[in-house]
Amino acid sequence: MTDATSPARRDPEDADRARTGSVFTTKSRAAAFFERFPPAVLLALAWVAMTLVVVAIAPLITPYDFKVMDLRARLMPPVFAGGDWAHPLGTDELGRDVLSRLLISVRVSLVIAFLSTLIAATLGVALGFLAAWARGRTEQVILMLIDAQAAMPFMILALAVLAFLGNSLALFTLLLGFYGWERIARIARGLAIAASEQGYATAVRDLGASPWRIYGRHILPNIASTLIVSMTLNFPEVILLESGLSFLGLGVQPPLTSLGSMVGYGRDYIQSAAWIMLAPAAAIVATTLSISIIGDWLRDLLDPTLR
């Protein structure tokens, strides 16, 4: 501690140290809080919390039924463009309330993206673990599937499947569940191979535990944080994919609505009533941006090795 008292030092932190005699620097509580939760992350968390509330109770808070048309109130502008509070975000070409449709769309898009991500994670973890456990030829086949999936743009595959099989909400959600499984499988396989060589996995294996028990009860909880981060990073991409396909009119079908299909129908009115498409477009960007920010933040927090 001799150099801490040396007069040559001018660094304020060192001055602080010299005064208090502690190696810890003092930092205000607020600064410490914002270092752990940067403002961008707080905003993102707030936005996601808000959308989660919308997902939970959307049908209860919509001012109108999202399907009801009112032909006398067509193309009403939103409040900030000279409209009135009867329709805060205006109405579309059939007189349907944009705010109500927006709330329902957020719900539909997020539920689809959530279920699809869950499917992709389950599939990815299952195949990744299978490859790690079986090794040999099974592993080669799974790795080949991973390569093949990564080689094709998913959107094109999805379009082909929709062309051949037709469309329904369940099929569409299942189809999107194939998005991103290969990345999760790759990560799960790598982590499981590394984990199974560690002492705890060897110990339970020597005790006679079944593969299900080793992988499900011991390895999975140990690598879960990394898997959750990669799911968080997958989620916004599924939202973009869903909204892209729905935008093209090949995803969520009317009378149901999603953020992408709202933009898709609104684009015909871009000249005269741009608000129809701007509200859902802004919702998509805000949501994907927020989840990406949270995903990056979680990644740095939970697992710096993924950086």
């Binding site: 080689a151 062309a163 909204s243 935008f247 992408g260 933009v263 871009i270 477009a281």
Partner: protein, 311 residues
């Protein structure tokens, strides 16, 4: 180098076979093509004749082999819309798509690479943060929102450019800009992290410690090494350009393969969808093969056989 090239070619061939098989599986998943083409009310005799004509009464593996043979002969069925060969219908649209994806790809590289390198070399400065903030948008703004926003600004508000069609070069500007900007943002981000990774390596410290000018350290030591991971993302960009073209062509009424795919899917014109699926599969395999071969060219370590010790 020959061994490396051959092994890459082999892998490309395997991927191609998987893509073709996938098209076959999806085709068969639809259920009975006879029922779909003829409808549920077709008389049994017509149904049997259809099955015989199309070889559907043969075992599945015979059909699979015949399917391969047909692809090699270039016989990919006819479009249901106008009865022309599906391959011809798709191929006449291909140059129209290339006319916007090609320039967009160049734009990706010409904006993305320098932006990423500049951001990495000015790490944690205002410049770096500005570039990275803008590039986040490339990940979070879907191409249709980007395209419609550009259309709203430049076509609807300013009236500088047309919002749709393909009559003049001015019609190509917005589609190219949409795909070009999004891709540039993605490339900038990856280039930056690849550069940062390399700049932290001991050989960079050695190079600057022995007194090389900074410029030379960057140009001769950092850039070639950062090019290796960046190449991967460029191969991936080809795929996202293809997917982006589907959306962007629909927004701007650009009559390329992407728009053809959307209408073919909507009309369930299966032969055309299948040709597009195969064409994109071939393009992707070719792009990845080119990237793999470029790796071998840039990185001499890859040309050598890996030793068992992994050294």
């Amino acid at each position: 180098m020959l061994g490396y090239t051959l092994s890459r070619l082999g892998r490309a061939a395997v991927t191609l076979i998987i893509v073709v098989s996938l098209a076959f599986v999806i085709l068969r998943l639809t259920g009975d093509p006879g029922q779909i083409m003829l409808g549920p009310d077709a008389p049994p005799s017509a149904y049997a004749a259809f099955r015989r004509n199309w070889g559907l009464d043969q075992p599945i593996w015979v059909q699979y082999l015949k399917y391969f043979a047909a692809i090699f002969e270039g016989d990919l069925g006819r479009s249901m819309r106008d009865g022309r060969p599906a391959l011809e219908v798709v191929m006449e649209r291909a140059p129209i798509t290339l006319a916007i994806t090609g320039p967009a790809f160049l734009m990706n590289l010409m904006i993305g690479l320098p932006a990423g390198i500049i951001a990495a070399l000015h790490r944690n400065t205002a410049l770096d943060r500005a570039i990275m903030t803008v590039s986040v948008l490339g990940f979070t703004v879907p191409s249709f929102v980007m395209g419609l926003t550009l259309a709203l600004i430049f076509a609807v508000q300013l009236r500088w450019l047309p919002s749709g069609g393909s009559d003049t070069w001015a019609h190509a500007v917005l589609p190219i800009a949409t795909m070009g900007l999004i891709g540039a943002a993605v490339i900038a981000r990856f280039t930056r992290s690849a550069m940062l990774e390399v700049m932290g390596q001991p050989y960079i410290r050695t190079a600057s410690a022995k007194g090389l000018p900074w410029r030379e350290v960057v140009v001769t030591h950092a850039l070639p090494n950062a090019a290796i991971p960046t190449l991967t993302i460029i191969g991936f960009m080809v795929g996202s350009l293809v997917a982006g073209a589907v959306v962007v062509e629909s927004i701007f009424s650009w009559p390329g393969v992407g728009r053809l795919l959307v209408t073919a899917v909507a009309n369930r014109d299966l032969a055309v969808v299948q040709v597009i699926l195969l064409a994109i599969g071939f393009t992707m395999v070719a792009a990845n093969l080119a990237v793999d071969l470029a790796y071998g060219w840039i990185d001499p370590r890859l040309r050598l056989k890996p030793t068992p010790t992994g050294a």
